[in-house]
């Protein structure tokens, strides 16, 4: 048996730890690890940049809080880069990257709270939209 939680949020500046606490139309989904769940079995990660600044950055997620038994786990999952487009030309599409860490095997304590933060390091590429799904299991 498994259970999932998805959170999302905007990361608006480079080198800025940003808590992901929203879920679209749900403003504040519960971040309590469901009862009976002792592992994060999978981590599904995606991000896209608007490319309004010229730069290059790598994205990562921080999984922490009281529920994560091994301390904060930091996982890189993608890179976004952009050259600001010259006037009069069309911008190339920015396709979001998707990374699935299967068999993540991160120990967690059920009924305690997890924190999920998104961040990017490198050179500012503008705004980034992050979404993270955790698949809990035993």
């Amino acid at each position: 048996m498994s259970q999932t939680i998805t959170v999302e949020g905007d990361v608006n500046a480079v080198d800025t730890r940003t808590l992901l606490t929203g879920q679209g139309s749900v403003t504040a989904p519960s971040l309590v690890v469901p009862a009976g769940m002792t592992k994060i079995k999978q981590v599904i990660l995606t991000a896209a940049a608007d490319g309004l600044a010229a730069g290059e950055a790598v994205n990562f997620v921080r999984l922490g809080g009281n529920a994560v038994l091994g301390g904060e786990q930091v996982i890189v999952f993608g890179g976004e880069d952009s050259q600001t487009v010259q006037a009069g030309s069309d911008a190339a599409p920015s396709l979001g990257s998707l990374f699935i860490l299967a068999d993540a095997d991160i120990d967690v304590r059920p009924s305690d709270t997890i924190s999920i933060a998104g961040e990017y390091g490198g050179v500012d590429v503008g705004d980034m939209a992050f979404a993270v799904t955790l698949v809990y299991g035993k």
Partner: protein
């Protein structure tokens, strides 16, 4: 009675990122976004092996050139000596606007480690100078 206690394995994830700014130059990845000085990346206590490496990168595409990229893992945390992993390449014909989006790649490995010792992570651009690259590396330890 034939009873054996089976301990479930778990994994720990430690990451660093940094930039490559010149070709054929060993560049240490020693920062982590908002943490400008996270300190040495130590093999966690109880870690049995380096189970995988996850690598992501981005390039500013600022030079019309082509190059390849790889990382080096070094330090006393690796009793078998240094390791290298190629993880990508990049080339553009013109440097006048574009976006790139790349998913990370996970490389399954089976490399012995020494707990409480440091692993240093370096990234490098070979071939032609492709500009500036930001590289992120996660080490997945099995404990």
């Amino acid at each position: 009675m034939n009873q054996r206690k089976v301990r479930k394995m778990s994994k720990l994830y430690r990451s660093r990122e940094g930039q490559i700014t010149a070709v054929d130059t060993k560049s240490q990845l020693a920062t982590l976004g908002s943490e400008s000085a996270p300190g040495p990346l130590l093999v966690p206590a109880g870690a049995k092996k380096l189970n995988a490496v996850i690598i992501a990168f981005a390039t500013d595409q600022s030079v019309a050139a082509d190059g390849s990229f790889f990382i080096r893992l070094e330090g006393p945390g690796l009793p078998g000596g240094p390791e290298t992993l190629a993880f990508g390449s990049q080339g553009v014909a013109v440097a006048t606007g574009g976006h790139g989006s790349r998913s990370a790649i996970r490389f399954p490995l089976d490399i012995p480690v020494t707990a409480a010792n440091e692993i240093l992570i370096f990234a490098e651009n070979a071939g032609e100078d492709t500009g500036t690259e930001t590289v992120g590396v996660t080490l997945e330890f099995l404990v």
